[in-house]
Amino acid sequence: MLGKDLLGIEDLERPEIERILETAQRMTEIGTRDVKKVPTLRGRTVVNLFFEPSTRTQTSFEIAGKRLAADVVNFSTAGSSLSKKESILDTAKTLDAMDPDCVVVRHKVAGVPKRIADVLEAPVINAGDGAHEHPSQALLDMLTVFQQKDRLDGLTVAIIGDIAHSRVARSNIYGFGKMGAEVRIAGPPTMLPADVETLGVKAYCSLREVLDGADVVMALRIQRERLEGACFPSVREYAATFGLDRAKLRYAKDDAIVMHPGPVNRGVELSHDLADHRPSVILDQVRNGVALRMALLYLISGRPRTRAESPQE
């Protein structure tokens, strides 16, 4: 169960996802204690190797490692030897020689965590690579939905926004699909991926249709600085067509929940009111992120190095 690395939801089997979610659900209890620390990974080292800035995910992994008593080292690329033109693999090998027990990698190019994992002894967790995958986000989303709905099987999940450029969408499409939910996507046609059918989801161009009967509504962040004018004419038009507010939410099921991976563009993907209040579960997602990442570190970091031992057997 569970290989050396966690690179994407696409690689996971359903029982592995279930194991991670069960472990994370137990980990949530530690966050409710006065003393939020257990000694499980004492003396272990977790390296956050972030080639792309990300305050939220990096902080979440850092808190998760510390709650398990691991030493967490943040290796950010600003001011590092990467600005001296050292290659990514050389940087990774240098880190590996310091014997970390887990390396958490974020990079703007898809596939970099895999390349690093192939040369490292230490297990690698993908914390987001380009438009490929963001497995820990999808897992914390599944955990949040499970807490609200008591199941994932048979639910209808609507993902709205820039699907084509979103690693969160891709990981969630794989994840919820593997867990038996029906995933639908919607957004401006310029933002829907070319390979919709191979992903096994149904694409919609209208908010009303995609929301009809949805149990879970997930709005994605619009990268307005990058995409305005290229994929949609204006932010105002996007907000009018695909932005969610309480009136539009009535198309979904009465008990539908609203999710967002953050940070929210208020008044664009979600109205102010919806960003702050139920049925939005955005802060639950953040809280669950720490527990979920604790589960990942518990399940895959610092295990005996079978690869190194095998030649002697």
């Binding site: 472990t23 137990r26 530690i30 295990r303």
Partner: protein, 200 residues
């Protein structure tokens, strides 16, 4: 589940009633008691003890559930990490007399882990231990305060509390099985196995 039956349901209930009497006898103030069950086997036993204490004294002691997995001393070496179980501590343990409830105590390592875990929830005035079965092969200086039955065992034997249909419900019994290599850590990585096998 097959194996030699060491205790049947009647014997288990009788032992827990006797232990409840002993607890009442040894504590002047029952209001300060706080029972903490170690899952999985300790949980049904903890519930029965709380009921028995209430029958005897009218005082309902709080019952917490404390998983020791994240405090075990053998987790780091395992390739397959053991599954976590429930932890539910209803209130602070500060200044309470905590009674840990475990089904089978063997090496004492689970009790050591439970004491460490307990200290993360406050500063109990005292900690005592109830064990339904004491196998007596201690590897740490741990003393059991209230014992249901002393059953000396050999390495390679496992002693387990089981219920009906694989659940810890209905009629309970304690079974002895002879299996595995002597001294093997059979409990590592198997669900619910650690309390009774390798590290119990």
């Amino acid at each position: 589940m097959t194996g030699t039956r060491l205790l049947d349901d009647v014997a288990i209930r009788r032992a827990l009633m006797r232990i409840a009497h002993e607890i009442v006898e040894r504590h002047e103030s029952l209001a300060e008691l706080y029972l903490v069950a170690i899952p999985n086997g300790g949980v049904p036993l903890g519930r029965m003890l709380v009921e028995n204490l209430e029958k005897l004294s009218g005082v309902q002691a709080p019952l917490g559930i404390l998983d020791t997995t994240l405090y075990r001393d053998d987790v780091q070496g395992t390739a397959e990490r053991p599954p976590l179980r429930v932890t539910e501590m209803p209130s602070s343990v500060d200044d309470r007399v905590v009674i840990l409830v475990e089904d089978v105590v063997n090496t004492g390592r689970t009790i050591r882990a439970a004491m460490d875990a307990l200290m993360d929830f406050g500063r109990p005035r005292a900690v005592q231990v109830v064990a339904l079965v004491d196998r007596g092969r201690r590897e740490l200086p741990i003393k059991i305060d209230f014992v249901g039955k002393n059953i000396p065992t050999q390495p390679g034997e496992s002693v387990e509390l089981v219920g009906e249909g694989g659940q810890l419900e209905g009629a309970l019994e304690v079974l002895l099985e002879r299996s595995g290599a002597p001294g093997s850590r059979a409990g590592v990585g198997t669900p619910g196995g650690d309390s009774s096998k390798g590290v119990g």
